[in-house]
Symmetry: C2
Subunit: 316 residues, 2 copies
């Protein structure tokens, strides 16, 4: 029987499941839509896991453990969620390990960004690196840090809040209660707010034409595509996103002196020009020697990062 | 024979030497004035070390190793200084281990703030803590971080540049080439610049009377003392220093989720009110859960931190 693990990637709108090999191969996977509340998510996790673990299709695999990644802060020992998990009402207090106890498998849990970082360290862009900062650009900005090739959790599992570096005094209001957090400018949500402001002012160019003035209809991928095509408005939007990200990451770089910065999320579709701009802007904000040997690269696991990474919470 | 080590604390104007016991006792110590250039500093280190290691007074001690702390970035493996060491012209390229090779003892070197952190972790305020941020307020702002009770050096020995978090866009010019670094406001030098601006505007109060309008004559200890006495100008000066420090440290706290923040330097003479103000301001800038369990304390080793910490580069 081949060795494998079940990785579960919990989100506010869908749960992803995958049977993963120790080499990082996603042998089998599926995704279930869920409502964004505690009971529905728990029921969806149970039924999705049963589908795999009870199925004859996986008889050829020896499932060694279950790994789960969830948005929000989680006590990785007890499995209990705590603090505020913005997208899932009532999620705090839930014991993730308890949900899958019926399967009798060793279970490992972590924050979703830490899980993705685990995947990148084990079978992705972070292989053979010791000191790594991982940032993923989505609805918010998620972060994970590895020191000596080990994910750092901090005193009470609340480390890596890289999105909440304040970059604009009295700036946009953030869900954390403060103002001007990097996340409000560098996340996809933040970028689309910037896009609106810029397009309303310019009212010209490919991006403007594309949405015919209905800015709400624009998708983030329209912005990255038109950035690649050189549309001036799209260039300004992406440059601003890169500036915000660089300013927010700079203190972390000056502090940790990492070898590698991994960027995840659809923003990386903006390609090499984006990475050049980002690297340049980091140079303007971080302490010179702290990023001298640092490479800035794109996450390798893409959309599979959550599921594959969750499986590697144990194998890493 | 009792076990001991020789700790050497290198500075731009004086070199401190100490025979230190494994319990952190400073058995014997002295300090030599030096000119701030490479050759003089090297000669002073050699003669100061000879004085101790050749002396009959230390026949009763078995000196197990030499530890050296120096301002600036140092390759802790090779012992070679690199980058810009602001206060010592020509210091970059110097091999610290080479200077004391004649004594035939194992030699361990590090940045001075990291050495002081080692001392605090071993026999000071950081005992029994795993995740620690250490900040020392002097001419500049020095920093050190411990993860899993180990000093973190980063990819090329350039970690912990906590003083160079940008807190004011287009702010005061910094030696690192950027503008608005926290160090420019939270260091003693920065604080005295703020003092000048505030006193010139107020032109009243105990601090103003003390210097009779000659602000250049004011000493930092005058400011901390009058802060304790409640002089409004001194309170404003120290509050601004605390705000700058809090804003500069906040991203490090949100990133590392430490258990302990140790503050060193004469600013800590401002006492409990200062620590209360600092803790309060950190709460306004750092991510809520990241400092929930964090204690903010005064460094314990004081002026001995450099020498004692250097000795503990090995014993730690």
């Amino acid at each position: 029987m081949e060795r494998a693990a079940l990785g579960i990637d919990i989100g506010g709108t869908s749960i992803k499941f995958g049977i993963v090999s120790p080499e990082g191969r996603l042998i089998r996977h599926h995704s279930l839509i869920t409502k964004s509340n505690r009971d529905d998510i728990i029921a969806t996790i149970k039924s999705g896991a049963r589908e795999f673990l009870g199925s004859k299709h996986i008889d050829e695999y020896n499932i060694e453990h279950i790994g789960m990644g969830s948005p929000g802060a989680v006590n990785v020992e007890s499995g209990v969620m705590f603090g505020v998990s913005a997208n899932i009402p009532g999620w705090s207090g839930t014991n993730l390990k308890e949900i899958v106890r019926e399967f009798g498998l060793p279970t490992h849990v972590d924050n979703d960004a830490n899980a993705a970082l685990c995947g990148e360290l084990s079978v992705g862009a972070g292989r053979n690196y010791e000191h790594v900062i991982y940032v993923t650009i989505g609805t918010g900005v998620g972060g994970g840090i590895a020191i000596d090739n080990k994910v750092h959790h901090g005193a009470n599992y609340s480390a890596s809040e890289i999105g909440h570096t304040i970059i604009h005094r009295n700036g946009r209001k953030c869900g954390c209660g403060k103002r001007g957090c990097m996340e409000q400018y560098a996340s996809v949500t933040g970028m689309m707010k910037t896009a609106k402001a810029i397009l309303m002012k310019k009212q010209t160019g490919a991006l403007w034409k594309l949405c015919d003035g209905q800015i709400e209809d624009l998708k983030p991928e329209d912005v990255t595509r038109e950035f690649v095509n050189g549309d001036p408005a799209a260039v300004e939007i992406i440059e601003r996103q890169a500036s915000a990200l660089a300013e927010g990451i700079a203190p972390a770089i000056s502090l940790l002196n990492p070898e590698l910065l991994i960027i995840g999320g659809a923003i990386t579709d903006a390609g090499q020009e984006y990475f050049k701009a980002l690297t340049d802007k980091i140079g303007k904000s971080a302490y010179p020697e702290s990023h001298e040997k640092m490479r800035v690269v794109k996450a390798k696991l893409g959309g599979k990062a959550g599921v594959v990474g969750a499986a590697f919470l144990r194998w890493v």
